[in-house]
């Protein structure tokens, strides 16, 4: 039953293509679809190139060299993951604006004229590529770092013995060896970029997601919005397949390698400083710049926590906590059933697909599903569209994969012999779950819970559409305040979102370090 609830919204979206095409669709097809497609292609291509350069180069430096600040950068390079792209977009817009901090600093340094502009308009596709690039490169950094660490020391040493220097070894050997990891990381970034709504909306770039939103809320044409969603979904699933196929190759490469005891090369003076700056730039632009600017904006607001923000924060906590508890409970239950009754892991894979569905599309699918249910419920004088249920369902579908990854690996670390012992001691399935699995999985459950909360707190598109009337969350407040150009007021809730986003960073860092050991 849970599988059907997870899949029905997606089936509703896909079924829209069989319901005929309206005039709005033909209008979009003739006038806007090409623009949406080209913008999306430019965006994905530019972001992919930028994240590859940033992610692979920094991972290579911190894996194979010792330089000033390396210990800090090893974990700090993941920090930008805590910053949702829409927040960096808001900061960039203000920071590089005519009267923004960047232009003011340079004007004070180089000229007395107040009308000189040092930075071009940032609200362009290039600006969006920079925003996505600097917030999403950690995906490529993480997979590349783990893959670099798994290259056997003997392979790198053999390359040196054959007369290759570090640069030749990097391009001729290391990059080809970790290519599947890079492709997997870039595919994830491409999916995130295509699924984003907040940043492209703020930069006013017509893409598929903004098109879907406008078609629905502007033209009030849900079916055409669903048809556009189907097209985007198709592209997302292509990237998902690429990511999965590459991931299986990473496993293969890892399984044949031995432990890595490669001794990093010590970089001196100029080279050490160069490595330091190469690593500093992405961390500074992707994390410290937005955080400092948001702190700066917050300090200029008289009332930091207004009643509205306090309400939004409590709504965020309430909805995220409820959804996180439910998600972890469902993931625990399904993993337990899969383990105990020998059901195929395919069920878990199927349920985990939800993370790849953009929040906006999921929201459209859930609305369609709920309106259909309401058509039947109306006889009983009730309806569920616009209730908190839709938002909770969207959150569960979006975050199931995260809790599943954590709980599945935690559960797999419990020897099956323990289950069998409990059975021979007369324990029922319920007792096995309650008295053995749950106590042992305590840490895993807490980890999954925190990771889900961190993910949900920054979620914007699904929340924006599915939230009940007069129910704002932190991300929605930031979005609404930013869309009214009230950036200073948006700063504090933005900082809270970043603070919660640091939780998964902590766990990811621990994961990479344990892999290193």
């Amino acid at each position: 039953m849970i599988t059907s609830i997870f899949l029905i919204p997606i089936l509703f979206i896909i079924s829209s293509v069989f319901l005929g095409f309206s005039d709005n669709f033909y209008h979009l097809y003739e006038n806007l679809l090409l623009e949406y497609s080209l913008n999306s292609i430019y965006l994905v291509a530019g972001v992919s190139l930028l994240v590859t350069i940033l992610g692979v180069s920094t991972a290579w430096l911190v894996t194979f060299f010792n330089f000033y600040g390396k210990r800090f950068f090893q974990w700090a390079l993941i920090l930008p993951l805590a910053v949702p792209p829409y927040l960096l977009a808001y900061v960039f817009t203000e920071f590089f604006d005519f009267s923004g901090t960047a232009n003011n600093i340079l004007r004070n340094l180089f000229t007395t004229q107040s009308d000189v502009i040092f930075f071009p308009n940032i609200r362009t596709i290039i600006g969006a590529i920079i925003v996505f690039g600097f917030t999403l490169y950690p995906y490529v950094y993480m997979v590349s770092r783990v893959a670099f660490m798994n290259i056997p020391a003997s392979v790198i040493e053999a390359s040196s013995l054959l007369g290759k220097n570090s640069i030749s070894t990097f391009f001729g050997l290391s990059i080809p060896l970790i290519r599947p990891a890079i492709i997997a990381g870039v595919a994830l970034v491409a999916m995130e970029t295509l699924a984003d709504f907040g940043a492209v909306q703020h930069f006013a770039i017509p893409t598929f997601t903004t098109g879907i939103f406008r078609t629905w809320t502007g033209l009030y044409d849900l079916n055409t919005a669903l048809q556009l969603s189907t097209m985007l979904l198709l592209v997302i699933f292509i990237f998902l397949s690429v990511e999965r196929a590459s991931r299986s190759k990473i496993r293969y490469v890892n399984s044949v390698t031995t432990s890595n005891s490669y001794k990093p090369i010590q970089l001196m003076r100029f080279k050490s400083a160069a490595a330091f700056f190469v690593c500093l730039i992405p961390v500074f632009i992707g994390f410290f710049l937005p955080v400092l600017e948001l702190i700066n904006w917050s300090s200029q607001v008289d009332t930091l926590v207004s009643t509205k923000i306090f309400l939004a924060a409590s709504n965020t906590l309430y909805i995220s906590l409820s959804a996180a508890v439910l998600t972890c409970f469902i993931a625990l239950l399904i993993n337990f059933v899969v383990r105990t009754f020998g059901i195929s892991q395919l069920l878990n894979d199927l349920l985990s697909l939800g993370y790849a569905v953009p929040g906006l599309i999921l929201a459209v699918g859930i609305t369609k599903m709920f309106t259909s249910v309401d058509a039947w419920l109306i006889n009983y004088g009730t309806f569920i569209t616009g209730s908190i249920l839709g938002l909770i369902l969207a959150y569960i579908i979006k975050s199931y994969a995260i809790s599943n990854i954590v709980l599945n690996s935690a559960l797999n670390s419990i020897p099956i012999a323990l289950d069998e012992s409990a059975q021979t001691l007369g324990a029922s399935k319920l007792k096995l779950l309650r008295d053995i699995h749950i106590p042992i999985l305590k840490t895993g459950l807490l980890t999954a819970f925190l990771l889900v909360i961190a993910e949900l707190i920054k979620e914007l598109p699904a929340t924006l559409i599915l939230r009940p009337f007069n129910f704002d969350t932190l991300s929605v407040s930031v979005y609404l305040l930013a869309s009214e150009e009230r950036m200073f007021e948006a700063a504090f809730p933005g900082l809270v979102i970043i603070f919660f986003g640091l939780i998964p960073i902590y766990f990811l860092n621990k994961l990479i370090l344990s892999n290193n050991k």
Binding site: S421, Q423, T424, A427, D435
Partner: protein, 216 residues
Amino acid sequence: MKEFLKVKNINLSFDSKEILKGLNLIIDEGNFVAITGASGSGKTSLLRVICGLESPSQGEIILDNSLLFSRDISVPTEKRNIGLVIQEKVLFPHLSAIQNIEFGISSKKDKQNLSGEIMERLNITQLAEMYPHELSGGESQRVALARSVVMRPKLLMLDEPFTGLDKDLKQKIYPEIKSILRASKITALMVTHDLNEVKALADKCFNLESGQLTEL
């Protein structure tokens, strides 16, 4: 003596490889039977079939006149009242020794009486509050044994339970186990490849080869 465990014409295959072929075994009440055999001969599989962790493709298992398995019936493991002690560390890591021993007992009164009694007899009272990671190999095995025996199983099965223990400790444990099983009138079936263990503990011994048992 009463025929207590009857295993009749059992067949078991994994991926088209036949492990047990029409295997038959009868154990009298209160007896201690040992099974030896080469690695991979199916000794552990036989124990897993008897306690219901594996399902054979054919055959019958009867314990104390109750049908546990046939073509139409398969009693779930947790309802067979068969204890199993294996070589692996299978104490629940989050429970202390005494909590492990009391795990299968449902009544509160029984918990205190039975666990105290068995711990005293196995000389492990001092380990009660310790957790599995604080116990040595021998201590863990004795707690695991106590956990199974305290349930007063109709049949206790031991799968190479003493592997990894040093010789002196084994010599100390053998008589303890024998006396406890005798006193509790528990029928036991042990799988081992150590003939010293067979001599010290078993009333009867079988060899498992080509999926069938022959008495030694």
